[in-house]
């Protein structure tokens, strides 16, 4: 299986090259037979890469430690579940996994378009095969081959890092990668539109659901990563503005911008070049994120010149993509002229445009902060870095502005908002927002930016709520339906719009949860068994936690545990007993010397009680001594309001995105969009 897999990877290279050539030549010469052959190569590479992936999993399952990748990321004691997930545990497997998903989406795109959109398909296939070729070349020639052998067979592997032995860590990378790779399809269609010259709104309609799919996976992938950090890293946070986190955020930001600006193109025929640019930028950022998450370039640029080949290959490829796209956009500029012009500052176009500006500005700021060590080293000769303080300072104002626009965009009129439109739609919601902020301020919430966020959140929710209510009521009246069926039909009739509003609600929930961060409370205390600590909740009430004692365990080979110390705590809030909690520290047999902190979390809809065992006398635990007089332990106790809302927002977001993506003909928007383009007399072309 492993030999077969390695062979399959090698065979896939000429086939991918062949597919690239067939696609482009078939498209250029309009040769249907060549295009048909090109389509077949897509299916073949998928089969081959699937075989290669199975081969890697096979090396893990059979403990083939003569393979470099297995020796470094597995050990005989690793649970089978994590052995399978070994495919995406490290850089080498991750790149293969990326390629596998790319092949999978290529097959889906080719298969679903086998009888339609033939004018795009040759170039779509050509573009996808270029990407496949790139990843195959990287895997085979950039010193990251997962089938590389060590030259000797270790008795056991180094073991998987315990931080990665967590449920969220097994689903976080695949989700993120699904998001990254799903975006290759819109990119391929965009390139096909440029190559074929069919630059009307057709390619946008074809890729709409793909973009939403990618966006949805990215959003969930990012939130899963936050959940992993929160549960596994033990410092109580969920976002640290780490380069790797930032890298995954960047394409999501530009994809969000695109999801909005594309609506201006659909309904007003504007921003064509801008949208093309956003698609290319998002795609390049997905490649950049893949590269950054698995290379460690930023943190270790001057400490370790690890694998510079791969850095140059990736940077070269990204530059090539940007160059080709830029040349094609310039070449096709006459076809990308704007059909309209913005008429008023106070209009929906304008709201969308500002949304785009802010999202792109955020992308820029995050990228700047992330790459600062590299840039300053290159230009100033010394490295300068910025931490979370920088990112929070810059991005909080952007976030608040985006939140505000979320309430404005849906109800402000297209083209030119009249005074009446503004009054009718915004007077009451503004009042609601201001009242909410005032009430919270008087209730003692004295953090300006947070109260502002809460107020704007109330404003947005009110606007969206009124939209739903008006739509439902109108439908109920016209169709004579009950409110519930009317609501259902309303949403199903224009899924993108109402699904989008539900996603907005999710973002409001998310931002509200973020804005509660200033109220996170933390104390650290050293306790003897029998002693108690108290921590006050910022929302009222006092938790009392009593340390009951330490239970230890050591040399549990089956579970790969060298030692384990579990501190038991009984908990109560204002005298009312709560379920007991147990905070834990573990040492693993493999990798030798590695430890992990297992936090205790009591999550409620309003706040989390979060307990970590910060320090115990590990020397004694390791020695197997269990002396009750030596059980002093240091704990960190935290109360974190609204953290559950973050996870809840992922759920709401999923519902909204699923409604938006639900398959089924939605011919109406396309008809309307071309109609709008035709209807509106186009003034002098401006070229965006």
């Amino acid at each position: 299986m492993n030999i077969l897999g390695e062979l399959a990877l090698w065979i896939s290279l000429p086939i991918a090259v062949w597919g690239t050539a067939l696609g482009f030549i078939g498209g250029r010469r309009q040769r249907g037979d060549l295009v048909l052959s090109a389509e077949r190569t897509v299916y073949v590479t998928f089969g081959l890469i699937a075989l290669a992936s199975l081969g890697v999993i096979d090396t893990f399952l059979n403990d083939r430690f003569e393979y470099w990748y297995v020796a470094n990321y597995s050990s005989s004691t690793l649970p089978t579940f994590y052995k399978v997930a070994g495919l995406w545990a490290g850089q080498r497997g991750s790149l293969l996994f990326w390629l596998l998903l790319l092949c999978l989406f290529s097959v889906l795109a080719v298969w679903s378009n086998r009888r339609k959109n033939r004018e795009f398909m040759p170039y779509v296939i050509g573009t996808l095969m270029v990407l496949q070729t790139f990843f195959i070349v990287v895997l085979l020639f950039a010193a990251v081959n997962p089938f590389e052998r060590l030259g000797f067979t270790p008795v056991d592997g180094a073991g998987l890092n315990p931080q990665l032995q967590n449920y969220w860590m097994t689903i976080h990378p695949p989700t993120l990668y699904l998001g990254f790779t799903a975006f290759t399809i819109p990119f391929a269609f965009a390139m096909a539109a440029l190559f074929s010259g069919r630059l009307d709104s057709r390619w946008i309609l074809l890729t709409r659901k793909w973009i939403l799919l990618s966006w949805f996976f990215l959003a969930n992938g990012i939130i899963f990563g936050m959940r992993w950090a929160y549960e596994e890293l033990g410092w109580g946070g969920y976002w640290f503005w780490d380069p790797v986190e930032n890298a995954s955020l960047l394409p999501w930001l530009t994809a969000t911008a695109f999801l909005h600006s594309v609506q201006i193109q659909e309904s007003r025929g504007m921003l064509k070049v801008w949208n093309m640019g956003l698609v290319v930028a998002t795609f390049v950022l997905t490649i950049f994120a893949t590269f950054l998450t698995r290379s460690g370039l930023i943190e270790s640029v001057h400490t370790f010149a690890e694998n510079t080949t791969i850095a140059f290959i990736f940077l070269g490829f990204m530059s090539l993509v940007i160059a080709v796209a830029a040349v094609m956009i310039l070449y096709r500029l006459p076809l990308l002229k704007s059909a309209n012009q913005i008429e008023s500052f106070i209009s929906r176009e304008s709201a969308f445009l500002f949304n785009n500006l802010i999202l792109v500005a955020t992308t820029f700021a995050v990228m700047w902060g992330t790459l600062l060590p590299l840039l300053s080293e290159g230009f100033l000769g010394q490295e300068i870095s910025v931490g979370p303080a920088f990112f929070n300072r810059v991005n909080v104002p952007f976030g608040i502005a985006i939140l505000f626009l979320m309430g404005v965009g849906p109800v402000i009129a297209w083209r030119r908002a009249s005074k009446r439109n503004l009054q009718k739609n915004f007077l009451v919601p503004t009042g609601v927002g201001l009242t909410a902020a005032a009430v919270l301020w008087m209730a003692g919430a004295r953090v300006g930016l947070s109260v502002m966020t809460f107020g704007i959140a109330a404003f947005v929710l009110w606007v969206i709520g009124v939209e739903f209510w008006k739509g439902t009521r109108a439908r109920a009246r016209i169709e004579g339906e009950g409110l519930l069926p009317a609501f259902y039909h309303l949403v199903m009739r224009n899924r993108r719009r109402w699904g989008g509003y539900i996603v907005h609600v999710a973002i409001v929930i998310l931002f509200t949860a973020f804005a509660a961060a200033p109220w996170y409370t933390e104390i650290r205390q050293t306790l003897e068994p029998g002693e108690s600590a108290t921590i006050e909740s910022p929302l009222g009430g006092t938790y009392t936690l009593t340390y009951e004692g330490l239970s230890t365990n050591f040399n549990d080979v089956e579970d790969n545990l060298a030692w384990q110390a579990v501190a038991l705590l009984s908990a109560s809030k204002d005298g009312v007993p709560l379920p007991p909690m147990s905070a834990e520290k573990r040492g693993y047999i493999r990798p030798a010397g590695s430890t992990s902190t297992e936090v205790a979390i009591r999550a409620t809809p309003v706040e989390d009680l979060y307990v970590t065992l910060a320090d115990v006398n590990t020397r004694l635990v390791q020695a197997g001594v269990n002396d009750p007089t030596q059980q002093t332990a240091t704990f960190t106790f935290m109360v974190k309001p609204l953290v559950s809302w973050i996870w809840a927002s992922a759920f709401v977001l999923t519902i909204g995105a699923l409604i938006g993506m639900w398959p089924g003909g939605q011919g109406i928007p396309s008809a309307r969009s071309t109609g709008a383009e035709a209807r509106t007399p186009s003034p002098a072309p401006t070229g965006d």
Partner: protein, 153 residues
């Protein structure tokens, strides 16, 4: 055309705000990010640099960890990744990250923030250690580990 001009003003306004936020953000929160060698060089050239808080990217010296006298007080050594002879002691008070691992054969990259105290000990207020998925032992280390743990094999 009036709305167009207003647009340009809005655009320039947004760009200006972004630039201002990024610029002041960087200048208020930036720290120097140095290797131990670079840091020692800077200190030799300019002793007042001792007062400046810095961020150091270094490697934890294996088996150098010692528990300090105070609560959650930790002592260890770090060295330059490229030049192991450049090394200095670090004191850190706080919770050790899980990825802090001073076992032999482990390459634990650390980022510390702080400054030297009078005794020549680097007083770290921040300690980050590199997430495990990104350190990859080289084959020789793997071989050494295997030979140590399985002498017969």
């Amino acid at each position: 055309m009036g709305s167009n001009r207003r647009f340009m003003i809005g655009l320039v306004g947004v760009a200006a705000v972004v630039t201002w936020l990024v610029w002041t953000g960087v200048s208020d929160t930036m720290t120097y990010f140095l290797t131990p060698s670079e840091y020692v060089e800077r200190l030799d050239a300019d002793p007042s640099f001792r007062q400046v808080g810095v961020r150091i990217g270094a490697v934890l010296v294996p088996e150098s960890y010692e528990q300090g006298a105070g609560e959650l007080e930790h002592h260890f050594l770090v060295h330059d990744a490229d030049d192991p002879s450049v090394t200095f002691p670090v004191r850190y008070v706080g919770v050790l990250p899980d990825t802090f691992n001073d076992a032999p054969d482990m390459v634990t990259e650390t980022v510390i923030e702080g400054r030297f105290d009078e005794d020549g000990v680097f007083d770290a207020t921040v300690l980050l250690t590199k997430c495990g998925s990104r350190y990859e032992a080289d084959p020789e280390q793997l071989r050494a580990m295997n030979e140590r743990e399985h002498p017969a094999g």
